[in-house]
Amino acid sequence: MTNDIPGGAAVAERTPTTTTTGHRGRRPLLRAIGPTALVALMVMLGFVLQASPLLTLEEVLALVVFATATNILLGSAGLVSFGQAVFYGIGAYTVALGWLHWHLSFWVTFFAAPFVGALVAVPVGLVALRARRLYFALSTLAFSELAYQLAESRYSFTQGANGVFGPFVPTSLTNPVTGYLFVLAVTVASLLLMWKITHSPFGLVLRAIRENRERMQALGVNVYRHQLVAFVVSGFFCSLAGAMFVIYSQSAYPELLDWTMSGAPVFMAVIGGMGVFLGPAVGAFIYQFGHDELVRYVDDWQLVLGAVLLLIVMFWPDGLLGAYMRARRGRPRNADETADRSADDE
């Protein structure tokens, strides 16, 4: 949605755009209709679908939160992290190990999980953010591998490669319908919070840093500190997503911390579109359902994933939702619609 304005058109559009009020021109109530309807539909599904698809949806919703949280870094801050599984895994392990070692209630560990993730994100971010671009990506990757190795090798604490299994999820949540509705509620609440954060003064500053960090520094902003805050916020929601995943899996295991798991939300964001708030969520649905279908027919589903990613990167670099939004905007414009182009990242 960014590079689509040829110079001539920009000049031609000057007059109409100035008479509108930009992003303020869009009526908030009107914009809320789509998401509200979507949530209503998702709630209805809880009463219509069988147990098995509901469980699948629980997993997908955890991934929706995981991918959206990762996209705070990718999309808003322009930081490519291949280490978010560290926090996803920590969320899952907080619930599982809290039960295993200290017999903590699920409700305590579930809501503590995001805070544990945020706490760990502070030192990880402090180190990783010393590096830039590729080296930032590589150091986050290294943290992911480190976390995986730790979880696998410290058998006495984590039960190693076996992972932690047990009846730590309350029966009210192992019930597919109530479990699904709970996960859905947490998803909606998290997305609303993350939407607000990305549409706040802080979110604007993050995007400005992404566009030009030196300029933002010259404007009095401590770039390192703001990126660290973004990293911690992302870690918070990634860990919450990991705790949500436990409701589906009723277990925690080292692969949740692995760098392949770290890659997943990045791929989801690329598939759906990093520049659109719901892009990664759409990507999570496509990725997970695509995966579930593919593994039935082909052995090397990663091969297909690779091909799909290539196609998207080549032909729809804004992702599928991004391309769709752009196509919708590409229709003949009237004066009101041109103002939408400069609106926030939706």
Binding site: V205, L219, V221, S342
Partner: protein, 253 residues
């Protein structure tokens, strides 16, 4: 105060910056008085841009002192110096390519109001009126909703100035503000800078290639050559300086 240094907003003493074995800035003394337009000129490689980068904190001085309004700023990081009231518009266009013009200025205003950590409000949208005023000052009212990278070169430079102004600075650094501009755009920029100094009492440090612009607009001029100050004084006096004519202006003709 009868202190002869009263009214000096920025002072550099014995400023040195080395790159490896090369001394780009070599013992520069500089005094910039409040409310003046002070130009720094010199041929390519004279050390102007390095000097600017020292003033803004992008580079740390190898030696020497730097004071803004009596407070030492030498070696302080850029964001701290910016907060102390020194804002800069860059030589190479340095904007936020994919933010709209209004968003860009809003981001700068969010920083000035110290609300960059605010995750819960719509404060950045409440700044819209203030942001539009800034855009009006620099003549970009019509471009508020355009993506910054689609602006013409001259408009991008004007946006640069708006970003710097959004910090409500006491001292504004303009590094070759008219570089690559058409004569019309240059005149617009000169009028803008003049207006800022006259109407807003802003102190301006200017680096500039175009001699007409420099002597037309400046109260004082400092001439740099090979990292050192060759001449310094009121514009008319510097213009009449034989050394300057020979080494700098002569080489230009």
């Amino acid at each position: 105060m009868s202190d002869p240094t009263a009214g000096v907003l920025l002072r550099a003493q014995g400023l040195i910056r080395d790159f490896g074995g090369f001394r780009a800035v070599d013992g520069v003394d500089l005094e910039v008085r409040s409310g003046t337009i002070h130009s720094i000129i010199g041929p390519n490689g004279a050390g102007k841009t390095t000097l600017f980068r020292l003033l803004t904190g992008i580079l740390r001085p190898t030696a020497g002192t730097l004071e803004l309004d009596g407070r030492s700023i030498g070696g302080k990081p850029p964001h701290v110096i910016a907060r102390l009231g020194l804002a800069q518009a860059f030589q190479t266009t340095n904007i936020f390519p994919r933010l709209s013009v209004l968003e860009s200025v809003s981001a700068a205003l969010v920083s000035r109001h110290r609300r960059t950590g605010d995750m819960a409000t719509w404060f950045h949208r409440r700044l819209e009126i203030e942001a539009r005023e800034m855009l009006e000052t620099v003549g970009l009212s019509d471009a508020a909703d355009l993506e910054s990278q689609t602006l013409s070169h001259g408009d991008q430079r004007a946006l640069e100035v708006a970003l710097a102004l959004a910090m409500n600075p006491r001292l504004l650094l303009l590094d070759e503000p008219t570089a690559g501009m058409s004569p019309f755009e240059t005149r617009r920029m000169v009028e803008l800078v003049h207006g800022l100094a006259r109407d807003n009492g802003l102190t301006v440090i200017l680096s500039e290639h175009d001699m007409e612009t420099v002597f037309g607009i400046s109260d004082r001029v400092t001439v740099m050559h090979q990292g050192q100050v060759l001449a310094d004084g009121p514009a008319a006096q510097v213009r009449a300086n034989d050394d300057v004519m020979a080494i700098y202006l002569g080489g230009h003709a």
